[in-house]
Symmetry: C2
Subunit: 661 residues, 2 copies
Amino acid sequence: MNADILKERQNATFDVEKLTNILDGGPELTKRRREIESMVLNDPDFMEEDPNFLSRSERYDQAVRKSAQMILKLREYGIADPEEIYCYKSMACGPRPEPVGLHFAMFLPTLYNQCEPEQSRKWLPLAESLRVVGTYAQTEIGHGTHLRGLETTATYDPATQEFVLNSPTVSSIKWWPGGLGKTSNHAIVLAQLYTQGNCHGLHAFIVPIRDMNTHVPLPGIVVGDIGPKFGFDEIDNGYLKMENVRIPRENMLMKYAKVEPDGTYKKPPSAKLTYGTMVFIRSMIVGESARALSKASTIAIRYSAVRHQSEIRPGEPEPQILDFQTQQYKLFPLLATAYAFIFVGQYMKDTYSRISGDINQGDFSELPELHALSAGLKAFTTWTANAAIEVCRMSCGGHGYSRSSGLPDLYVNFTPTCTYEGENTVMMLQTARYLVKSYQQAKAGQQLSGIVSYLNETDHRRVQPQPVSARPTVVDINDLASLVEIYKLRAAILVGMAAKSIQQELQHRKNQADAWNNSAIDLVKASDAHCHYVVVKLFTDKLGEIGDTAVHSVVSSLALLYALHGITVNSGDFLQAGLLSVPQVLQISVRIKELLSQLRPNAVALVDSFDIHNKKLNSVLGRYDGNVYENMFEWARRSPLNATEVHESFYKYLKPLRSKL
Amino acid sequence: MNADILKERQNATFDVEKLTNILDGGPELTKRRREIESMVLNDPDFMEEDPNFLSRSERYDQAVRKSAQMILKLREYGIADPEEIYCYKSMACGPRPEPVGLHFAMFLPTLYNQCEPEQSRKWLPLAESLRVVGTYAQTEIGHGTHLRGLETTATYDPATQEFVLNSPTVSSIKWWPGGLGKTSNHAIVLAQLYTQGNCHGLHAFIVPIRDMNTHVPLPGIVVGDIGPKFGFDEIDNGYLKMENVRIPRENMLMKYAKVEPDGTYKKPPSAKLTYGTMVFIRSMIVGESARALSKASTIAIRYSAVRHQSEIRPGEPEPQILDFQTQQYKLFPLLATAYAFIFVGQYMKDTYSRISGDINQGDFSELPELHALSAGLKAFTTWTANAAIEVCRMSCGGHGYSRSSGLPDLYVNFTPTCTYEGENTVMMLQTARYLVKSYQQAKAGQQLSGIVSYLNETDHRRVQPQPVSARPTVVDINDLASLVEIYKLRAAILVGMAAKSIQQELQHRKNQADAWNNSAIDLVKASDAHCHYVVVKLFTDKLGEIGDTAVHSVVSSLALLYALHGITVNSGDFLQAGLLSVPQVLQISVRIKELLSQLRPNAVALVDSFDIHNKKLNSVLGRYDGNVYENMFEWARRSPLNATEVHESFYKYLKPLRSKL
């Protein structure tokens, strides 16, 4: 092991294993996770070449091979718990998605949830045995977020009792679904349902797209890969253009809405049924943000402990770059953020599973709040983690730019979370809608409960923006409860300001829609402040659950750093609202520097606690043993461009050029 | 042409061509630029497949072919002016660098500047005819920014009158130089010079690395490609490991420092001679930031005019997303930033060429200021543009993630500017060093001139942080001169605070080096504020040169948006320093919204004014004609994964899997 990183580990003030257990949710879960990870580790079938050395087609090929292996092995080992499947797959695939991912994540669940019993009997055995491999085709080339805008049509023909599917325009071509291009032979297609001359909006249809034996596209189907992307090289995101494609009436998913043989439409009992899935997926993405940021900060902090560069004191040897204040200031707030998001992710998962029982019983009372929270936190955490990964990459100097660092792959495979499952700005506005509605209810005298209770009239009357001199200065910048309080007041004030902006716009224009759009900047800001408050609060709450004194101490420092750093970045808000005085803001800057020094000896131990195995981290810079440079050299020598000593372009272009000059 | 984008162009309030001329530096320059661009456009030799469809080796091959063509054609056309060469190459290569780029950018210029006459006679004909293809090998795998840390040695052996070059450790392997891996047969190697038992620091040596006829690596040389990166796929960034490689004494570049045949070392007259080149390159990077951001905002704004999504008013057709306030708020400040950086780039180029005459005469008096400015602005503009490109990409929804958008390529090929030619944080600290030194000089009674004159004692005595009530509120938020003034005062206050932090640290620790490191956060902040002030000032100054009323009006709105947006993002600083009151900050938010609406009708015309040809933009989303979706479909169908209808992985893995389940 590299001597620097060994020394770092020896200097840590807490027991890494204890913190790992907290992050896993208990020692038993740590143990089981490691068991599952070792199944992949010790399996020669998962030995593979670095995908960065392969062509797109080879990468796709290797990924399909792994998918097929994983399906067999998970059944062989009897791993069926979704968490454990996730754990197995993320060890086998690293940050890279798998081509049949959507078959399991969307196609099968949709069949489970939306098939009539007869449909289940037909389709489930086919799908579970992978004779039918499916995907979920909703997005079109010209339409995404706004479902009513989708153009694909499914017109019922009572004469043959079939639906006729069409992509009537270029903009209606299905675009983006994972596994659609090459892998799937069926797709659940979302289309506008027409019957008896009326459009009944979006419904789901099972559409065969390739012959089940030959895999050749069926008549009327134009299907293929949408071409190379920023990342997701393993996935055949696809296009699907349909021309008079006929499917039997029974291929419409009919558990809720129905079309009778004669074409009579029966509408579903509730529109809220798919709502739960969306909330679930967005809650899971919060956890993805935490995992991505944990990986990035592990790589950057370990390499910063190993890397020596420049000088602090003239004449002395080059110091570890982790000793530079600027490097600590880049990385430690992100490390704190990774911890914050892990705890928020745990909270979202727990909350979802707590109320999902109610949802299954038809009780949706807690869903709107969770929906608003999951939308906002999905956006808040993905935007933050997205930018943070790049800060980590650039903090590694030039080597962060090499694919061997693992950071480019991490970034390109994470960044879609800002866009998919609800574009982030749209998400922030959805949360804002809930906040403004709650604010107005509170103003109308209703007593709010839950996470928005801070908007109750009694509270928000005292949080109008006002000069700091008018507010008793009771904020203690070292007390997290006190900081949670001012984050809450900031959120309350910004929600109030956004609501007031809408009010003012209405007075000028008298049009709700334009008033909303003309207040959108304020609304996004309010949502952001709300989410920030929730994250600081949940991080603080978590500290109460940590018994071990040494662990509690270091995690408390992280929480304090997270809260104070967020204040300095948004100091304008806090000053403007009179929540902090100018001297307090200056004190906070000083306190942050102290916290950086305080966390410095534990930085490596804090990323070790994430316990991300080298295979999963997939980074020469982030290796546990710190032996970076020899391994980077070895990796480079395997690069395909080094397959021959002299590249053919020398003979073709460079040598002939000489005679022409 | 797409109807939406046509309408946008018809609604513009100014003459696009007039603004283009201003950006080019005059109508004659616009004309000449277009002439050169059309040479590439009409040249069938530059027809090529999208590199995104090729393997790494094919991309490198295609790039070498283009490099060879460009060399021939530039000579054929007699294009020799560096600006015109740049223009030709950027049309032919788009955002992608070329494998022999460093031969022209570093190898040849170093020969021109550092050869003795005899050396020039030998090497220049070889290099100019490309029999010698060279690169510049400075960075090592374990050493970058800090030149004294480089480990490669060149030890003089008077017995044979040779230098013996060695890479004594793994961390000393040369790493990163462009064209080193496969393309070059020579390298200028920077190594610690040892002679007569003493080390004389870093010197430059011409080292043959491959046989000039066979291109096979020479004995003692281990050379190759460092492997795949985030971008720069066209370039064989390389490694070089030397073991007792002997070169003649005459291969040391001896215009300044010398080693006599007997091993006597003669030191160079001045260390400032390479200083100018660094300043020049960093100044050029400011222009690169402007160009990259111009491209990104062209793509995002044109596509936002074409793309319809969601709803503002219920029941109405989906609006252009450019009508959403949130979209305007994302993109228009970036558009304003692109304009700001173009003008700053022009200023840097003009300033450099103004004083480069002095430099050649040995007059370095203006160099320190320009050095500090170019370091800071390099960091300020690249960080800003880097983040902005990603905002532009994500503002295009999912399609930004497709390689067809051009935005991923733009990002991965631009982002290295944050690291190379001086890592950005290091650059900010260099600028800070100059600012703090100037501040201390002023405090000691010296009268400063030039861009830091605002630090003069008479000025900075009145800019201590103080409550706003104590400062007469004379700021007019609609008056750019007034805004320049408060940006200046903010910079002065932050430089003062950083200097004070150093002072306080010195009182505690009495160690200059640690005091500096413990104030680094404040120092970076001070540099950032200084650069921000310079950019706002130069943008404002530029308005004075614009005669046309309509153009002046719209560019003034951009300048105002740039200045006000920068204030809201940093409102904490302005409030803290008492430079603005709380009501003024609120007014600024309202004013920004007005400016967004005001700029909306001219948004497309403002990106059209950049006049970036489709071929150079290389983006389906940013096409001038706005015909996005049909072309995206066509592009996708050419994707290599669509070469066969059924991918071989179906037969290899998916079909066999069925029988096992």
